[in-house]
């Protein structure tokens, strides 16, 4: 619980004292103490829901603690909000970048506080100041370049440069490298090292231990809203990090007992799949009757693998064959016709039709099954929807209710059910349990097992690693776009999966 590094309050950049934070149904933080010194690069690790985000939000002023205090540079961070924290020198660069794509770098640097002269906005002065800020990080962009012309890594650099224009004391980077290629990662790490040498403290949220070892001096691990420990990076092994992240929970869920015989018919065969910079030379066989798990940390290429198989993105090279037919790069419609169904990671944005009924959200994958002569038959729509609602145990009083009247878990079941309606034999489920309550999670696990038992293959992607042993027959670990390991039930254990996924390259 206590910070092991020696310190005095006066020279700390961050001093979080005995902070607790309660959300409506979740205890997000419980009596956390946390300190960071100037020039220190602190890695912050923890599973989803461990409290990292709440911690970031507290430090950046977006939230206030229920009890306890947060000091930045010796000043109490009160109710000043994000502006208050910014005035004390805190800046956060989130995974979703906050730059306006259609404006220039200089305009973004001064967003909302554009310099003025007598004739209006002073572009020349902004460009000059921007040039200085960019030079400080050895970036050679033109200030009048549009942000949309920059790659993601470069945009991140611009955000960091923007942060530097204030008197920066603490920079929080939230999964900064999850969407970057190896070369780009090095540039980000170099900048972090430079800031550190200038005395800026950096909180680096990431699970890529190789990067953490290159750039951080210490690491804090959170679990269930508590700070488990803070240790110097040199004395910390991957195993220890994993143990701290998982705690006792690692062995809670019952793993699948019997190993699959590996004799199921191969439905899809992936060979040499490459999609720079996300996937490299992936070989994978999907056999009927199996639940295949894909483990990997954020940005390891999980989503891209599913999207390639579903034909949404075209790989640079490699083949995806189903029943002897090539699917790679042939488009989403072809994949759907071949019997591949994918439920996207962002259910709200990409998965649901909130205003349509549950019935239509299900039969949308194939109107023809519920039509005759091109005309929808309400009875057949109702019957088809009812079948799926029963099969997926979707809790609703009427299949005609609008989808947004359902809870997240039931919405997810309807989205999966869409592909049962279309008779898909390959189900690609990207984070199907995200934002779903515990009861619904258990139901979704059972459904996934049933779907496999009925001769389908289910590919299950989850960033909650402990789900995988409980659901999957076989788990592949993706790391940096490559399949690095394979585990077969009953020899799948959460901590081994996580250690493999996070391990150094």
């Amino acid at each position: 619980m206590t910070d092991s590094l020696p310190h005095t309050t006066a020279d700390l950049v961050v001093d979080v004292r005995d902070v607790s934070k309660q959300y409506p149904n979740v205890k997000a933080l419980t009596r956390v103490d946390f300190t960071v010194s100037p020039g220190e690069v602190r890695a912050l690790l923890g599973k989803n829901g461990a409290g990292k985000s709440t911690m970031i939000r507290l430090l950046s002023g977006a939230e206030t603690p229920d009890s306890g205090q947060v000091f930045v540079g010796g000043h109490l961070l009160g109710t000043g909000g994000i502006d208050g924290a910014r005035a004390l020198g805190v800046r956060t660069v989130y995974q979703e970048l906050s730059l306006i794509q259609s404006m220039t770098i200089a305009e973004n640097m001064f967003m909302g506080h554009w310099l003025r002269n007598r004739t209006g906005i002073d572009y020349r002065a902004m460009a000059a100041a921007t040039d200085l800020a960019l030079k400080r990080l050895a970036l050679d962009f033109r200030p009048n370049q549009l942000v949309s012309e920059l790659g993601i890594a470069d945009q991140q650099m611009v955000e960091i440069a923007r942060a530097l224009m204030d008197d920066l004391k603490l920079l929080i980077l939230d999964e900064p490298t999850s969407s970057l290629s190896a070369g780009e990662v090095t540039r980000v790490l170099d900048v972090v090292a430079q800031l550190s040498s200038e005395g800026v403290a950096v909180i680096y949220v990431s699970h890529r231990l190789s990067e953490i070892r290159r750039v951080a001096s210490s690491a804090s691990v959170m679990r269930d809203g508590r700070l488990i420990d803070t240790r110097a990076i040199g004395e910390l092994t991957t195993r220890e990090v994993v143990q701290m992240m998982l705690g006792e929970a690692a062995s809670e869920m019952e793993p699948i007992e019997s190993a699959p015989d590996g004799a199921g018919e191969i439905l899809i065969s992936v060979r040499g799949l490459t999609l720079e910079p996300k996937l490299r030379n992936v070989d994978l066989d999907l056999r009927a009757g199996e639940v295949i798990g894909i483990a990997g940390i954020l940005g390891s290429g999980r989503t891209e693998l599913l999207q390639s198989i579903a034909g949404i993105v075209a790989p640079d090279s490699g083949s995806i064959t189903m029943a002897g037919r090539e699917l790679a790069g042939r488009g989403n419609a072809r994949a759907l016709r071949s019997g591949i169904g994918m439920t996207p990671e962002n259910r709200k944005e990409d998965g649901i039709f909130p205003l349509l009924g549950i019935d239509e959200n299900i039969v949308v994958s194939d109107w023809r099954r519920v039509s005759s002569g091109g005309v929808l038959r309400p009875r057949r729509v109702a019957a088809a929807a009812q079948t799926i609602v029963d099969q997926m145990s979707i809790k609703t009083s009427s299949t005609r209710a609008e989808l947004n009247t359902l809870s997240g878990g039931n919405q997810q079941k309807a989205v999966i059910g869409r592909w049962l309606h279309a008779d898909s034999t390959v189900l690609l489920l990207d984070e199907p349990t995200r934002g779903v309550d515990i009861e619904a999670k258990a139901q979704i696990y059972a459904l996934i097992r049933n779907l496999a038992a009925s001769g389908r293959v289910v590919v299950f992607v989850s960033s909650e690693v402990e789900e995988l042993p409980a659901v999957c027959d076989r788990v592949f670990v993706l790391r940096g776009g490559e399949l690095v390991d394979e585990f077969v039930a009953p020899n799948i254990s959460t901590d081994t999966l996580l250690a493999t996924a996070m391990a150094e390259h």
């Binding site: 949404i312 989403n332 419609a333 759907l336 016709r337 994918m342 996207p344 944005e349 990409d350 998965g351 649901i352 039709f353 909130p354 205003l355 349509l356 239509e360 949308v364 994958s365 194939d366 109107w367 023809r368 039509s371 091109g374 005309v375 929808l376 309400p378 809790k395 609703t396 009083s397 009427s398 005609r400 209710a401 609008e402 009247t405 359902l406 869409r418 279309a422």
Partner: protein
Amino acid sequence: MTNSPETLTTSEGRTGSRRRFRVEIGSQQINIIGLVVGIVVLFVVLSILAPNFGTPRNIFSILQSAANIGIIAWAATLVIVAGEIDISVGPAVAFWSVMLAEMAGPWGFGLPLAIVLTLVGGIGIGAFAGWLRARFGVPSFVVTLGLWLALRGQAQFITNALPVPIDESPFMDFLGGTLPGGIPVNVVLMFVLFFIYVFIARRTGFGRSVYAVGGNAKAAVLSGIKVARVRVLVFVGTGLLAAVVGIVTAARLSSGNAAAATGLEFDVIAAIVVGGTSLSGGRGSMLGTLLGVIFIAVIGNGLILLGVNPFFQNVVSGVIIVGAVLVNLALARRGSAEAV
């Protein structure tokens, strides 16, 4: 609205019952009820203030002016539900009335062929607009703004802005005339097309795909809906029905007229949004549009009967339309806030 959720909750004891309640009287139903009430109130008030208002003759006259707006509004409702917009319908009507007159008369195609070519042409222009939108991502407002200028301009160019007379023919007389009992033929046509469009919207895969695309285009793509085809087809609908109204207009005026249907596009859009269809797509109903069309036609008729200055009539219409949508939104927000 205020106490019913509680009653239901106690009878079933779960939040699920509240959800069902919301489905039974959602914001759309509130909107429909509101419009019906509004129309009834207008009827009562106008009947008292203007003695001629309630006569069958005047009712037919209202419906007749509703017909041009309505016929196009059915197709345009699907365009807007799909998240698109078509502002070119007024000039399209004028253009096709001119083309029909020219083809049937001066160009010597004969009336039957002229009618067929007009309908095919309407489909063609609609498909072209939809293709520009779907294939190249040109915003539909821009595509139809271009058509709005070009079609009216072309109609005026062909005719030198003078009416082109059409020879008398039994078919055109019928189309522009009335049935026994005084019911105008175009009013009958409006209702027939209304039921066809209700059917398309509710009972075909295409119709439901329109709602899906407007509600969440990304999810529609991922669900295997042919989004480009849907987008082309909704514009084919407005293109075709604009040609139909062009023919009807020519029949009623016995001429093709480049100045016909001025401002029709705005009456159509106004009727649709008053009818509760969301301009951001995904939500809307044919019944709402029908009521919106009647609402707008009644106001227009009432203002004339009350002898309001013609210039000031537009001011009143503008205020009433925005007010009606404002009330709609307020009701919808209250409804969903209580039911969720």
